[in-house]
């Protein structure tokens, strides 16, 4: 069945992404764990794109005010993640400096 094949494809993608995630994240040093968390906050901001996709199918015809409010709320929360997550990560990372000069 086509549906099942498609589901299995998506599950494969999920599984591989999980493995890649563990592999990549396990190399992040403890010093950067806080920026890592805020960076992942930005990356799960991808729900913002999810919300745009849903709005794209939902708003084709006339929409009820309730659904419009829920949509705006979802988009706002997603946007907070994307913009805030990247901005705060950038702010933190620029503070991590090497020791300057030839001091001991």
């Amino acid at each position: 069945m086509n549906d099942i094949t498609h589901l299995i494809q998506l599950l494969t993608v999920l599984l591989l992404a999980v493995f890649v995630g563990f592999e990549v994240i396990s190399k992040v040093p403890t010093t950067l764990h806080t920026p890592l968390m805020s960076a992942t906050n930005a990356i799960h901001g991808i729900v913002f794109i999810g919300a745009i996709l849903v709005v794209g199918t939902l708003f084709v015809g006339p929409t009820s005010p309730l659904l419009a409010i829920i949509s705006v709320a979802a988009l706002t929360l997603g946007a907070i993640n994307v913009f805030g997550g990247f901005a705060v990560t950038e702010r933190m990372l620029q503070m991590f400096k090497k020791k300057e000069g030839p001091r001991l």
Binding site: A17, T30, I46, V47, I49, T57, A79, I80, A87, M92
Partner: protein, 463 residues
Amino acid sequence: MSVALSLVNLVAVALFIYGLHQLNSPPTARAGNRLAMVGMAIALVSTLLQTQGIGWWAILVGVILGGTIGIVAALRVKMTAMPQMVALYNGAGGGAAALISTLEFFVLASGNGENAVVSVSLVLSAIIGCLSFAGSIIAFLKLQELMTGRPITYPGQQVVNAVILLAILGLAGWFIATLGTMPVLAFLGLLLCSLLLGILFVLPIGGADMPVVISLLNSFTGLAVAVTGFEINSPLLIICGALVGASGTLLTVMMGKAMNRPLTNVLFGAFGSGGGSEPAAGSGGPQQIRSASADDVAIMLAYASKVIFVPGYGMAVAQAQHSVKALGDQLEKRGVKVLYAIHPVAGRMPGHMNVLLAESNVPYEQLLDMDDANPEFPTTDVALVIGANDVTNPAARNVKSSPIYGMPILDVDKATNVIVLKRSMRSGFAGIDNPLYEMPNTSMLFGDAKASVDALTAAVKAL
């Protein structure tokens, strides 16, 4: 979706993964964050092209509102308040996933769809999203000290949680059996129960366990996003959610290991609520404790060859990171080697101390994690403990009856001299006596961490 747009999304995914990979060292980390930003921008444009801008006004409102809130908060937040900030961002992601599921529920309820995959993923993303949202709000309130950081417990807590969980499972079963066409009220009930469970499961967890909770909520949010990807058939969401979920899970496991406690114990143990714990062996009351003056300690520090600072949450509370750096500078001027030893669970989130010290311009090469720091202590003249307690407690090594027995600690007691900066003799978060304070090589310097460090700096300068 056209082939071109799918390819563009593939590029975005590659940028996310490579960006995260770049976080593996401080010099490349900023480039990594920027790559991830580019990935997000690409994905955003391709998605807007795909939906042809339908609902543009809602998207615009979302960007203006969310963008403003996010960026203003990101620029204003104090580094000491980073844990609360990340908690809120976790909650925002979970909330967004739950709201998307609610929208999709109304689509299903109007009779479109009827797909098993969609209904299973929809109900899962609604539940996990609500858990993460409500749990993060409580974590935020605790961290911001808008409510007590102590565990909140009541009799029958576990039973209440179990009943709510059963209700959620029952409603979820009903939802899936009817392919998402259950009454609106029942779906609302499902959302409310999930929110309630999110609140109740964080309430009994104390402040010192927050590093675990934040990591766990981070992984929940990732999971909610990944499941949302199945719901709306978007590999992009599945991959990003999986990356975040993996990251959160890995950090949760690391934090648990650093406390030598299984996750179940953190979640259900209500650590730190117990009244008096057994006094540690050899405890003879406070008469054995020596207190030192800032001048004594300054002399000790100034004539040392190696000093290790051990910062803890107390440093964050007193906002003492800049003072600590100033003291370090004074000592380095005199040729003293200065290092910082950071326990994985020092502070309220993974890496909290590192960010604070980075903020006050301490080069990251001077920050040692536990495994690198412990071999240094036996050759250290002075270990200066600034607002850390349980992570330096030698009882974890040798007192079998201690609640923290087996937890890996920083071996500050192996240094020639140990100076503990402490507000008072109150026990640490875990409510356990710290035999370190009674050891012959330990002296206490009582007072606010910032004031004490400033006094030390002044005294060293005057020498």
